[in-house]
């Protein structure tokens, strides 16, 4: 299957590991990623608050480029509903593109103004022609767990993974996101399919603080501490993310958080595509390992270790414990 590909700025710099692992895994799975030509920044999370029209024109330009490139005759990238599919790995880019498509559809004034701005560059965007999707959605729903399981050659056995979704992918609900905004499970299932031991990570959809590190560091550190503390409490070896912002915050600011709270967190933060590549047996260097600030080497060394916990204790005759909901006898 073929998709338009919008990497976004982060993937060219701090999240280069996400970009290379995405491309490597996609190639391995036979997914065609057709990068948009001449794409520009999505405006990230704050631009919309500063100048709405400029923000929509900025995002709209990418959608217009996608429409031009993906709807070109003979392109063959159209879905059954006639829309072209555009994949964004970054949650912020994904949300901006998805939101812009929807709001341009709903708000005629905004649509007209945006298209007037785009016309200056010889472009226009017809809302609804591009179906914006997050990379995780494509992996889970188009490729599917069965296919992923089939591709695993080096299962991630023994590695305790905390799956972290962040907030931009799950909210707001504009259609086509993950199954549950409050407690999504797709990444959990994906990691299980790769053979990892997945910890039930209660803060999986809580905020990482976003750009709060630049505005009010103390607030940001507390948010990050909660996430790291929770992952550590659950004895996770790594936190797996799907968003460059989350990765950056948890990775780059981990030492500051340790300093600030006198803590000793040492949790590598990796992209889910890196884990996929690893389990598929792809070359580690080609997956961007080593670019993370908190080194993942020690954690990854655990892969293949036998499970630590012994067999679950047999139920004793006099055990008074009540069955859990949905328990089989």
């Amino acid at each position: 299957m073929n998709y338009g590909y919008y990497p976004g700025c982060s993937l060219e710099r701090n999240a280069a590991a996400y970009d290379v692992s995405t491309r490597a895994v996609a190639a391995h799975l036979g997914l065609g990623l057709d990068e948009l030509e001449d794409w520009n920044c999505c405006g990230a999370t704050e631009y919309i608050a500063i100048n709405k029209l400029a923000a929509y024109a900025l995002i709209g330009r990418n959608l217009a480029l996608a429409q031009k490139q993906l709807h070109a005759p003979g392109n063959g990238r159209l879905a059954a509903d006639g829309r072209a599919q555009l994949v964004a790995p970054c949650s912020a880019c994904f949300l901006n593109l998805r939101k812009a498509d929807r709001y341009l559809q709903d708000d005629e004034t905004l649509r007209t103004a945006t298209n007037e701005a785009l016309a200056a560059g010889g472009l226009r965007y017809d809302p609804g022609t591009i179906f914006v999707r997050h990379l995780l959605d494509v992996m889970v729903n188009d490729v599917g767990f069965e296919e992923i399981k089939r591709r695993v050659t080096k299962p991630l056995t023994g590695l305790r993974v905390a799956p972290y979704y962040g907030c931009l992918l799950v909210r707001p609900r504009l259609g086509g996101e993950l199954s549950n905004a409050e407690y999504p499970t797709e990444l959990d299932q994906l990691m299980k399919a790769l053979g990892a031991e997945v910890v039930d990570f209660p803060l999986k959809a809580h905020c990482c603080g976003g750009h709060m590190t630049q505005i009010s560091a103390e607030v940001a550190y507390e948010l990050l501490r909660r996430l790291l503390q929770n992952a550590a409490d659950y004895k996770a070896d790594v936190i797996v993310t799907l968003c460059p912002m989350c990765q950056l915050n948890l990775d780059a600011y981990q030492s500051r958080v340790n300093q600030h709270f006198g803590a000793g967190f040492n949790l590598p933060i990796l992209y889910f595509t890196q884990m996929m590549g690893l389990a598929f047996g792809l070359d580690e260097k080609a997956l961007g390992f080593g670019k993370e600030i908190v080194s993942a080497a020690a954690a990854l060394a655990k892969i293949g270790e036998p499970p630590k916990a012994g067999a679950p204790a047999r139920r004793r005759k006099d055990d008074k414990a009540l069955p859990m909901p949905g328990a089989k006898p």
Binding site: P202, D233, K320, P325, A327
Partner: protein, 671 residues
């Protein structure tokens, strides 16, 4: 024969006359509609008063009226009144039209001139329509005296007992092995806190002993045919594998059965039962059933422990399901509700966090006959909680799940708070949106529980988590909520969380509705005939609803509905026959081409196709008169009484006032 029409315009005090110039309307009708057959048009203060009705009767007799049009209130209010008046004067009641110039004119418009013009148009529509009215007789259907009650919960039990006490045969069908329903699972009932079993068991025993009640448990209705007064119902009696004539209910089989199963029905998943079981000690009937899916013998071919130990030889593995056909005149549906599945709100942790319980689990927990013998303990079965959080409105009043209020959860949650306090002395926090305690002695109960020291926090819980953030939270479940009364986010660490899950229609409610030919609201609750004035009847004649099948309600209201449905049924039986509105469709066989367009349009299966003659026919007793087939017949071979094509087309012409000189002469005066 020339038609002689009387037109009567009602003032309704000032209700109509205050906006519509009724005198002018009457004069206009007498003059301008004369060539349409109007020979008299009167206005009168209150047409529905006995004097008003007498006016019509007198005109029918003295002026020889052949048709009557009354312009007054909604036909839903007084259509019957004026039809009766006509009948008393010897005019067929179906030659009378009531058109609404109150609800649809004087009460909704302010411009007096425009309203008067519209009243004329509406009257003119009535006059054109009445010309095409046909004299009709109501349909009379005999009523079979037996009744089917589906569902053996408290509503069904009440209905069955009332009808049986009235001396009529009742078949009570229940799909579980015992009657009792949800009420049998409860410990205490609010607000009086009397023991559910103590008040329910005597009623269950009465059902079991009643000479007029044929109880059919472990059974399901499979097919419903026929119509009001004369239903033929097929019931599948599932194989119990126990001969009830030999079984004494001693319970040895259950004791000896080696197979233990989590009981997801009666024990709400909190306890176990055997593969051969009676769901609870007071079950009626007392005979156990074998759950074939879990029975070792049925799955693996060996065991038969129950057969070996049964002192009376009552076990019979060879029993087969039986199909039983019943003849009944009326049906009461009391199939109850299912609990909202709390796993659908994953942020509350049910199914993931061990010490989160649903309301039904907790009912079983505090029941002395339940899995913990009434001890309030954590999932380990040993530890008593020191703090308990109770979350209201789980799955109710939430646009993500159900918009409606489940009606019972506030009181149930307060009851839980009381029981927890009483049994464990724990601190209790109730998280509510609005406290809804509107019934006799309910609000007093709320006050009592608050006085006992229960903390009530007004705020919908955002999440339940075991992720500790602050000291004191470790090892606890933390409920995060915004306390909207103080405007603060709060985190309350507790040992146990109870989710007051809402009530939902049965998972198979849609199929049940289809089986009985009823309709469900968008939420899935069965629709009553009228939400206020006819709450237990349905659109399908002869089928009544009672209890939670109609919508969430507590025990007193379920009992009330059970009794109300029984009263309606008994009234029917007493009448021996019932008159039905003759709104029916029929097919002109000569004109029918047998194209079969209409064949699958009738949800009541009233349309029959005769293969031999290649024509379709409508069974008037099954027809409910919706007219869909009339509107669909491409050959125009189907006609419908009371709402015929001619009547409606004429009314359109009349409303557009084309009865005058072939054009729309009376334009509305600009408003």
């Amino acid at each position: 024969m020339a038609e002689r029409i009387g037109v009567y315009v009602c003032h309704c005090g000032s209700n109509i006359a205050g906006v519509v110039d009724v005198v002018q309307v009457a004069q206009w009708a007498a003059g301008r509609l004369k060539h349409r057959g109007v020979i008299i048009a009167r206005d009168y203060k209150f047409m529905c008063s006995s004097l008003g009705q007498e006016l019509i009767e007198q005109d029918i007799k003295e002026l020889g009226l052949t048709r009557v049009v009354v312009a007054a209130c909604s036909p839903h209010l007084h259509e019957q009144t004026f039809r009766n008046a006509c009948a008393r004067a010897g005019l067929n009641p179906y030659l009378c039209e009531l058109v609404s110039i109150r609800e649809q004119v004087s009460w909704v418009h302010t411009d007096k001139v425009a309203a008067t013009e519209k009243a004329k148009a509406v009257t003119s529509g009535g006059v054109e329509r009445v010309l095409w009215d046909e004299p009709l007789e109501p349909l009379r259907v005999p009523i079979h005296p037996a009744t089917l009650v589906v569902g053996g919960g408290i509503a069904g039990i009440q209905a069955a007992l009332e009808i049986a006490d009235g001396g009529h045969r009742v078949y009570l069908v229940e799909r579980e092995p015992s009657i009792g329903g949800h009420m049998a699972q409860f410990d205490k009932t609010f607000p009086t806190l009397d023991c559910a079993a103590c008040i329910l068991t005597p009623k269950m025993v009465s059902v079991g002993m009643h000479p007029n009640i044929t109880m059919m448990t472990w059974s399901e209705v499979e097919k419903v045919e026929g119509y009001v007064g004369n239903f033929t119902v097929t019931v599948r009696q599932k194989a119990r594998c126990v001969k009830t004539d030999l079984c004494t209910g001693c319970g040895v089989c259950e004791e000896k059965c080696p197979k233990k199963v989590v009981d997801n029905v009666f024990e709400a998943g909190l306890g176990y039962r055997k593969a051969i079981y009676t769901p609870f000690a007071q079950a009626v009937p007392k005979y156990p059933v074998i759950d074939r899916e879990n029975c070792t013998y049925f799955q693996k071919g060996t065991c038969k422990a129950c057969e070996k130990f049964c002192p009376t030889g009552a076990i019979d593995f060879s029993q087969q399901d039986e199909l039983i056909t019943l003849q009944v005149g009326n049906i009461v549906l009391a199939t109850g509700f299912d609990l909202f599945d709390s796993r659908r709100i994953p942020q509350y942790g049910y199914g993931r966090l061990a010490n989160v319980f649903t309301s039904l689990e907790f009912e079983r927990m505090c029941n002395a006959a339940g899995p913990t013998n009434g001890n309030v303990v954590l999932r380990d079965g040993l530890t008593a909680p020191k703090t308990v959080g109770i979350i209201h409105c789980v799955g109710s009043r939430d646009k993500n799940f159900n918009n409606y209020c489940s009606a019972i959860c506030c009181m149930q949650s307060l009851k839980f708070a009381h029981i927890v306090k009483e049994r464990t002395g724990a601190e209790v926090y109730n998280f509510y949106i609005d406290m809804r305690t509107a019934a006799k002695a309910y609000d007093e109960f709320d006050q009592r529980v608050r006085d006992e020291g229960t903390h009530v926090i007004r705020g919908r819980a955002a999440e339940v988590t075991d992720a500790a953030r602050m000291p004191g939270e470790e090892g606890k479940l933390i409920i995060q909520a915004e306390d909207t009364l103080i405007g603060r986010q709060r985190r309350i660490p507790v040992d146990m969380v109870l989710l007051a899950a809402g009530l939902e229609p049965r998972r198979d409610a849609k199929q049940t509705a289809q089986l009985f030919g009823l309709s469900c609201s968008a939420d899935g609750w069965f629709i009553e005939k009228h939400p206020k004035l006819d709450p237990v009847a349905t659109m399908t004649e002869g089928i009544f609803i009672a209890g939670c099948v109609q919508g969430p309600k507590d025990i007193p209201n379920s009992v009330v509905q059970g009794a109300a449905a029984a009263a309606r049924v008994q009234g029917r039986i007493q009448q021996k026959e019932i008159s039905l509105e003759p709104v029916r469709a029929s097919i002109n066989e000569h004109r029918c081409s047998g194209c079969r367009i209409c064949n699958n349009l009738c949800p009541f299966n009233a349309i029959l196709f005769h293969d031999d003659r290649m024509v379709s026919e409508i069974n008037p007793a099954l027809c409910q008169g919706c007219g869909t087939c009339v509107a669909a017949c491409p050959a125009g071979a189907i006609s419908g009484t009371v709402f015929s094509n001619e009547q409606i087309l004429a009314q359109i012409q009349g409303l557009l006032m084309l009865n005058l000189n072939g054009g729309r002469v009376e334009e509305l005066v600009a408003a």
